[in-house]
């Protein structure tokens, strides 16, 4: 059935379940604790107030005592809902983890996911705009990483780069070793290249800017070869433009500008021209080979 060679297949870590349970618990436990306290206060305060008031007892108190009422209240409103939420979550997470898999093929990445409705997402390498590796507080406890693959979806009305929207289509959570998938994609990109030479020599067609940005990102990650000195930051600050504004004007993600300013990114010539145009200077004023 598969006519294309599979390069890499992987699943997400079981720790992902623990992470989500922990994350949800940190939200739920304070809420339910507050709820419990609220019941306790209401029950005892209400009791005292009625004592001080005119005689006559409430019918409920005749049937059950306050501590007993409190116990049932807490059981049904706090403990059982909490357990139910946790059990449902735990079961669905187990299914989610079991169903989740992704494979790197020759030209694209395929992600299978879903608990009840199953989805198969195919992301061609050419459309990949950026790859973010994210690790939040809870991720770090379990040494997990989330890989977000952003693709550029062009709006139909025009080809202006400002209209490109970023969709985190490929969302791969709970990874122990995000580097492997990054390396695999990198490896495949090299094979996809039309020019069988060094990755750095690669040239791009104008319509392949997204592809270009991705390669540049990989290159910046590899951080090898020639050093590029830049004074984008100085010129930008002189003109009072924030990096977000600059990114928007030239139609790239903010990270691209950040990498550029750190000198870790070898941009394409057309991107360099665009920036020079916005900052109203020459390319040579912006970038020098170190």
């Amino acid at each position: 059935m598969k006519n294309k060679e599979m390069v890499y297949e992987h699943f997400i870590s079981k720790d992902f379940k623990k992470k989500i349970l922990l994350k949800v618990s940190t939200v739920l436990i304070p809420i339910f604790t507050l709820l419990t306290l609220f019941f306790v206060v209401i029950a005892y305060e209400g009791f005292e107030m009625r004592d001080r008031g005119p005689p006559g007892r409430s019918p409920i108190e005749d049937i059950v005592g306050v501590p007993e009422l409190l116990f049932w209240l807490i059981l049904f409103v706090v403990i059982i809902p909490y357990l139910v939420i946790m059990i449902i979550l735990s079961v669905s997470l187990s299914i989610y983890i079991r169903n989740y898999s992704f494979e790197v093929l020759e030209n694209n990445i395929i992600i299978h996911h879903g608990v009840i409705t199953k989805t198969k997402a195919t992301i061609p390498f050419i459309q990949i705009q950026n790859i973010n590796v994210v690790s939040g507080i809870f991720d770090r406890i379990f040494k997990l990483y989330t890989v977000k693959i952003e693709t550029a979806a062009r709006s139909r009305s025009g080809s202006s780069p400002a209209l490109i929207k970023f969709n985190p289509e490929g969302h791969i959570p709970g990874l122990k070793e995000p580097n492997i998938i990054e390396d695999k994609i990198n490896e495949m990109m090299k094979r996809l290249s039309h020019v069988p030479s060094k990755l750095e020599d690669k040239i791009f067609k104008p319509e392949e800017l997204a592809f270009d940005n991705f390669i540049s990102y990989i290159l910046s990650k590899m951080h090898e070869g020639k050093e590029l000195k830049t004074n984008i930051k100085e010129l930008r600050e002189k003109m009072n433009i924030s990096s977000a504004q600059l990114a928007e004007k030239v139609g790239v993600p903010i990270q691209t500008i950040t990498y550029l300013e750190e000198g870790r990114y070898n941009p394409s010539l057309s991107l360099a021209y665009k920036i020079a145009n916005v900052l109203n200077c020459k390319v040579e004023d912006l970038f020098q080979l170190a």
Partner: protein
């Protein structure tokens, strides 16, 4: 409010011209910038977007500022320049737009474009040239 048309541009390189002027072969240039000859070939053929470091290397080797080697040119320029005059006349008659107006498209800049042409005219012209509007022109909103 209104829409200002702009040329969609592509990167053009003058590597071949400059290289031949200085009597450097493709192979020699490739070697001195540390890339394969094929890369230089692709660059010279145009429709390519080299990395900045490669461009800077080439500009150093050819001893010219980068802006003189690589520059942007309206996509439509090639298209209009490569059509025979007779054919342009035919197209002009067909869509009812002045013949000179089509020819002028290969000479003018963005400012003149927005003054002389309406979006409707440009859409007609791009259709007649067998291209989609957004491949030849961009729209700026005022």
């Amino acid at each position: 409010m209104g829409i200002i048309p702009r040329f969609n541009k592509k990167l053009v390189s003058r590597i071949k011209e400059l290289r031949e002027e200085q009597k450097i072969s493709q192979q020699e240039l490739a070697k001195s910038v540390g890339v394969s000859r094929q890369t230089i070939y692709y660059l010279e053929r145009g429709a390519s977007n080299p990395s900045l470091t490669l461009s800077l290397d080439i500009s150093k080797t050819l001893n010219k500022p980068i802006e003189e080697i690589f520059y942007f040119e309206p996509v439509i320029r090639d298209l209009v320049d490569n059509i025979k005059l007779g054919d342009i006349k035919e197209i002009a008659d067909e869509i009812g737009i002045d013949y000179n107006k089509i020819l002028k498209l290969s000479e003018i800049d963005d400012e003149q474009l927005s003054k002389m042409y309406t979006e409707e005219e440009l859409t007609k012209i791009s259709e007649a040239l067998g291209e989609e509007f957004h491949k030849l022109f961009l729209k700026d909103e005022e």
